[in-house]
Amino acid sequence: MSLSMQLKNNSSLPLNDIHPLPVEEFASRLLHSVADGLRVSAYFARPRQEGQFDLICLLANDNSGKLQLLQTRISECFPSLAAQCPQLQLFEREVAEQFGLQPVGHPWLKPVRFERNWREEEAPAPLAGDFSAYRVEGEEIHEVAVGPVHAGVIEPGHFRFQCHGEEVKHLEISLGFQHRGLEKLLCGGPHKLSLKQIEAAAGDTSIGHACAYCRNLETLAGVQAPERAEALRSLALELERLANHVGDVGALSGDTGFLPTASYCGSIRGNILNLTAELCGSRFGRGLLIPGGVNFDLNPDECRKLLERLTVIEHEVNGALALFYDSPSVLARMDGVGILSAEIATELGLVGMAARASGLHRDLRLTHPGPADGDFIEMVRQKRGDVHSRALLRRREIAASFAMVRQLLQKLPDGDLRVALGPLQPNRLAVAMVEGWRGELVHVVVTDGRGKFDRYKLVDPSFHNWNGLAMALRGQQISDFPLCNKSFNLSYCGFDL
């Protein structure tokens, strides 16, 4: 009888099979696992009766492709492991904020989203931005505070720089302005609005989050979406990846002042979004996925037309990108700026593009593949971890995504579009992880005795990665901040939920 549970991506466990550990053993096993090379994918609390809580930790083993589940029972406080394991610090703060629990010994206990305590609905809510910023003392140090309302058309967030002249000594990021209470809304679901809310969790990753949600429900209902549906889901996911990467390169180009690529990529991104719109009517893929399958189909004629448009778009993208990556003035701006070393990336538990640009081996399509990831072979990685690496990574992923979309369009498997979804199994825990375009997004759902959501935990890749931006900016010029920020391009609302 193993005391820690193992499961795979897109699978579920009965709750009875999960044996809660004593707190000390939970802590020591967690630290051992991290020392062995596993990483924390999710860590959250689930309220039980009489003021007790289940503390659940999901660790991902990229080598074996398995997920390790650890659980313990706590009441008011729990030992903080953040000092030894920095990946946990934000998760522990989130648990403290959501339920008022105390992580004992946490080195940096601060608000995460300024969220109202779930247990005290009548209490006054915390005020966003009301935190004491980390200060570097010294007469020559001044602060620059930006946000929430920024100069561009972008979501709100607050950045506090401790600067000496032009050099940034430290950056502190305080978010929470987009908090809509998504996790709380999902409790008791699935409701009629749940899928729509998930699609709007992070608006540019609608397909990624909807995919994870639908797969979770399918796992809980014990069904599997048909092959054709999964292939269409993958197609939409890759189109989403393409659109965002092309848009990012355009934005990077605009930030370095290289307008040709900025203009071309801006237009081309719209063309790629229009491909998604051809598929389902919405440029962001809303309304495409449904638990059980997909809502829209492509007949061979439509596939052919999309392929033709794709070829033209690929040609245009390559032309625009060639200019950007060849221009010495652009490279001078990006080279060696905002370096995030592999050690720091590992310590902070970064995922997705930012991690791969620092040399980490993290792509769910390879390590924890989903139903339609069978053909995925090549993980794109860079070594240096600077803005140039992240930009180059995007170029290579764009090329890989074009190849995958072409392959999917040419060989869509036959079959139905959806299966009927029965009732959800009660008292189970299900996990779905999807490699969205930013990185790994994790949905963990626990159902209660009636098969309704007792706790739905979403972890967007931005939750892990915002700290990466803060570390990458140390020692950099403050005028390079927009460039670094754009090179990460993290989601504010994915963090804020």
């Binding site: 302005f177 009629k192 729509k196």
Partner: protein, 249 residues
């Protein structure tokens, strides 16, 4: 340099001929809903029941659809095809009550009064504030600056500081954490000023209309001059609304 020039020739001119030429959108695009109430069966509430945001109410046996709450998800399409989503992207209106779609046609936005049209008609600077938006509305608003839509040729520009702005374009359901900042931004705009609410979230809360952490849209917080429904509104919807507001359409 030569490479840049040759690439420019290859990429060509991308600016659409809108508004001279109507844009061609995807066939599956869900634009203006058309309600054919005459075939409605008595007592059937399926559209109202299926709508996730309770945007449909039955009045006198016919469904009335609140475009401000509508997510354009097409859950309400019933077997009798009473509600159908057309390809019409023109959705922007001036008043909240105009968004209730029933038997009459949708009264599209008319232009500003003469005084404001004189001030803003040829140069309108907008400050975009995302009050909790999911980034889709923001992205599709930002995209208006790319050569395809080219907002600048209409004299409209997105500016960095509210002090430079003539109008506030807001998206998002106005989360509790962002409410003060939104009101501060509005106060920082010099008079006279406009407010444009873009997206289902901004008008009535969108998918988060029931969340206690949001204000369910702009509501009574600010006086709104233009409502643009959609989730997210297509860039042409927003552009069409802006041009109508300035009397260019």
């Amino acid at each position: 340099m030569l490479k840049i020039l040759s690439e420019r020739f290859r990429q060509g001119n991308r600016t659409s001929a809108f508004p001279r030429v109507e844009p061609v959108l995807s066939k599956r695009f869900r634009g203006l809903p058309q309600i054919d109430a005459s075939r409605c069966q008595n007592g059937c509430q399926s559209c109202a029941d299926d709508c996730p945001t309770r945007a449909i109410e039955l009045k006198e046996g016919a469904p009335v659809l609140d475009l401000g709450r509508c997510l354009f998800c097409s859950n309400c399409v019933c077997p009798h095809d009473i509600i159908k989503f057309s390809n019409d992207y023109r959705l922007a209106v001036r008043k909240r009550k105009n968004l209730f779609l029933g038997r009459e046609e949708l009264p599209l936005a008319e232009s500003l009064d003469d005084k404001l049209k004189k001030l803003f008609g040829r140069s309108l600077k907008l400050r975009v504030v995302s009050a909790g938006g999911c980034n889709a509305c923001e992205a599709d608003c930002n995209v208006l600056g790319v050569p395809t839509y080219d907002l600048g040729r209409f004299g409209i520009q997105i500016v960095a500081s509210p002090r430079h702005a003539d109008g506030l374009l807001m998206t998002g359901p106005v989360t509790r954490n962002m409410q003060a900042a939104l009101l501060d931004t509005y106060a920082a705009l010099p008079e006279p000023k406009l407010v444009i609410a873009s997206g289902a979230c901004a008008i009535a809360g969108g998918p988060f209309c029931d969340s206690p952490e949001t204000n369910s849209g702009v509501g009574e917080l600010l006086p709104v001059d233009l409502y643009v429904p959609g989730c997210p509104p297509h860039p042409y919807t927003l552009l069409d609304g802006l041009l109508r507001l300035l009397g260019k359409r």
